[in-house]
Amino acid sequence: MTPNLVYVIVIGVLFGAGVSLLLERTLTRILIGVVLIGNGVNVLILMGGAFGTPPIVGDEPVEGMSDPLPQAMILTAIVITLGITAFLLALAYRSWQLLGHDEVQDDAEDTRIIELADRDEVPHADEDDDDLPNPVYDCAPGREAVR
């Protein structure tokens, strides 16, 4: 079977738009991106099977039927996407409740490195925090050994 060009273009556009939305920092846009890609994948799966008449035994000759398996897989994928969409919406809403926005934050490691760079320090895991004086630590046995 040769692929139908219209389907191929639809898949391409859905994937392209979805990926560029995924690269956004707002969770709502990411969510729309995920939904778009999800639909793109569904069309992709649909293209994998034979096209034809409804696959109902008795009504139609078996030779001309469409392949029912991709349709069953797409149904499963749609259900999964639905659940995930609901969860992501809840996540975005909770983030808005807590922070007033739903942007994806920097991860903890990045934040730490940026802070160290601002203070012009080298990263050193065993160093004390400057704003936390810790006399016990400074005279603790084993400190030199660790260095």
Binding site: G49, I84, D126, D128, D129, V136, V146
Partner: protein, 508 residues
């Protein structure tokens, strides 16, 4: 006896439904979860014995004969993974019950915890048992969606932040997996793995390489191999201790399991073995260098988790019987040990009030039992003889030395260096948290005396101890266990036991 095969999936799912209905009755919830997981463990153990004595156990779901219906297959690899993973989930469940009881969970029960936890177990067992690529995807989705909920439990600010990254990255890997499935079906007309094994051999090389790459990419993100694992150390440590422990033990290993299954069954030609070797070397070395730089026990353990995934990938890349056998043994060892260490980290957090290394100290004197519970798995992770970590690494490195080639030797050297650096990282935790004098801000025995909190509840110590004992038992039974893993590896390499179990009359 094949009717046993679906039970490890069905029992936790039933338990999840029941616990959801009994959301307002925490005692009943706990009883159901414990019963369900104990039953799953029992069934899995029987399955392991059956697969060792009688070969792979196959069941066609709903009576639809393959390749039309979905099959569930328990071969030696799947059954071994089932036993280890359910044993670990059971211990973590007891631990979380202990933690909930100690924190006065009675008034504000997190009623969603038990159903989600059981759904996670069902997803993991379904992924292990699946003989169909699409069902494998469904298993992954079940465990991932459950893990989204568990990771953002309580939805505090920190967990929402970490959860967002985790969810988005996991979604991306799921989408890649699903696209790969669509393409595989379009190219071969089936998703039954036993049938695919034959059909893939007929495909053009380039197409096969594309499909292999997409599947590896999807599984690689889930298994957190370099450079796809940066999400892991950021998200895991923010979750509650038992959740982190079960994630660390199981989720990445399901990814590695999927890699082993697809690489051996569907793509046995080993065309990208060199790429896998380089990735495994980088995963090991970069991961452990990350661990060395950490100042928080949970983050440090997350980086060792990534790093040691490299060992398993090394065994897969070798694709020899010894290599695969070592990798399977290492998975069993690593599931146990990484979970134990995260449970111990949870205990440290309770006793010391934090897992930040610069605010801890003197735990060795304050909490000697806890020190033992941390010390034994820590040495085990670093590969000190005679523990299973040493035996697993030895098996893998020996398998590597048997192969010739500078790249393999480079990975062997990297494995040794990683092992040493693990010892260094673990030794630093020991020095800072367990030796030196106690930090003044740590909770003291007086805090406990007023009755508001129990620092180290018995119900949390006991499961951690059980897992330490289990990990030591892995060392004691290492001989027979290596016997099973070599048989499993031989079955994987020859492929015929798996295919013949599904299609006794030959694949259509």
């Amino acid at each position: 006896m094949t009717s046993l095969v679906p039970l490890p999936v069905v029992i936790p799912l039933l338990g999840a439904a029941l616990t959801l209905m009994l959301a307002r009755r925490p005692v009943a919830q706990r009883a159901i979860s414990l019963t369900a997981l104990t039953a799953t463990l029992a069934v899995s153990s029987v399955l392991l014995v059956l697969t060792v004595t009688d070969g792979p156990q196959v069941v066609a779901v709903g009576g639809w004969a393959p390749p039309l219906g979905i099959v569930l297959i328990a071969d030696k690899l799947a059954a071994l993974m089932l036993v280890v993973s359910t044993a670990v989930t059971l211990c973590v469940l007891v631990y979380s019950i202990g933690q909930g009881a100690a924190d006065g969970d009675e008034e504000t029960p997190l009623s969603i915890y038990h159903p989600t936890y059981l759904a996670l177990t069902a997803g993991v067992t379904n992924a292990f048992l699946s003989g169909d690529l699409f069902n494998l995807y469904v298993g992954f989705e079940v465990l991932l969606v459950a893990s989204y909920v568990l990771l953002t439990l309580g939805s505090t600010e920190n967990r929402i932040r970490a959860g967002t990254t985790y969810v988005v990255v996991s979604l991306l890997s799921s989408v890649i997996f699903l696209s790969a499935l669509g393409l595989v079906y379009a190219a071969t007309g089936t998703l039954n793995m036993a049938q695919l094994a034959g059909r893939f051999d007929e495909l053009p090389d380039n197409l096969r390489l594309l499909l292999q790459g997409m599947l590896l990419l999807a599984f690689g993100i889930k298994a957190a191999v370099f450079p796809l694992g940066a999400w892991l150390p950021d998200s895991y440590p923010t979750a509650p201790a038992p959740v982190t422990a079960v994630f660390a033990g199981l989720l990445t290993k399901v990814g590695i399991y999927a890699v082993i299954r697809t690489e051996t069954l569907l793509f046995p030609d080993g065309r990208i073995a060199d790429v896998l070797l380089v990735i495994s070397l980088l995963t090991m070395v970069v991961g452990i260098l990350g661990a060395v730089a950490q100042s928080d026990i949970k983050r440090l353990l997350s980086f060792t988790l990534i790093s040691h995934i490299g060992y398993m990938l090394f065994g897969v890349a070798l694709a020899t019987e010894a290599g695969l056998s070592g990798a399977i043994f290492y998975i069993a060892h690593h599931i146990t040990i990484q979970t134990t260490l995260f449970l111990a980290a949870g205990l440290i957090e309770r006793r010391g009030g934090t897992t930040a290394l610069d605010r801890l100290g003197g735990l060795g004197k304050i909490a000697p039992v806890l020190s033992i519970l941390f010390f034994i798995p820590a040495l085990n992770l670093a590969g000190i003889p005679p523990f299973s970590g040493f035996l697993g690494k030895l098996g893998l490195l020996q398998a590597g030395v048997d192969e010739s080639g500078p790249l393999v030797w480079a990975v062997v050297a990297g494995g040794v260096v990683t092992s040493l650096l693990t010892l260094y990282a673990i030794g630093r935790v020991w020095n800072l948290a367990f030796w030196r004098r106690p930090h003044p801000q740590m909770p003291t025995a007086e805090d406990e005396a007023d009755g508001s909190t129990v620092l180290l509840p018995r119900l949390m110590i006991a499961p951690t101890f059980a897992l330490v004992a289990f990990s030591v038992a892995l060392t004691v039974v290492a001989g027979p266990l290596f016997g099973i893993t070599s048989d499993a590896a031989a079955d994987l390499l020859s492929r015929t036991p798996y295919i013949e179990a599904v299609f006794p009359d030959g694949a259509p």
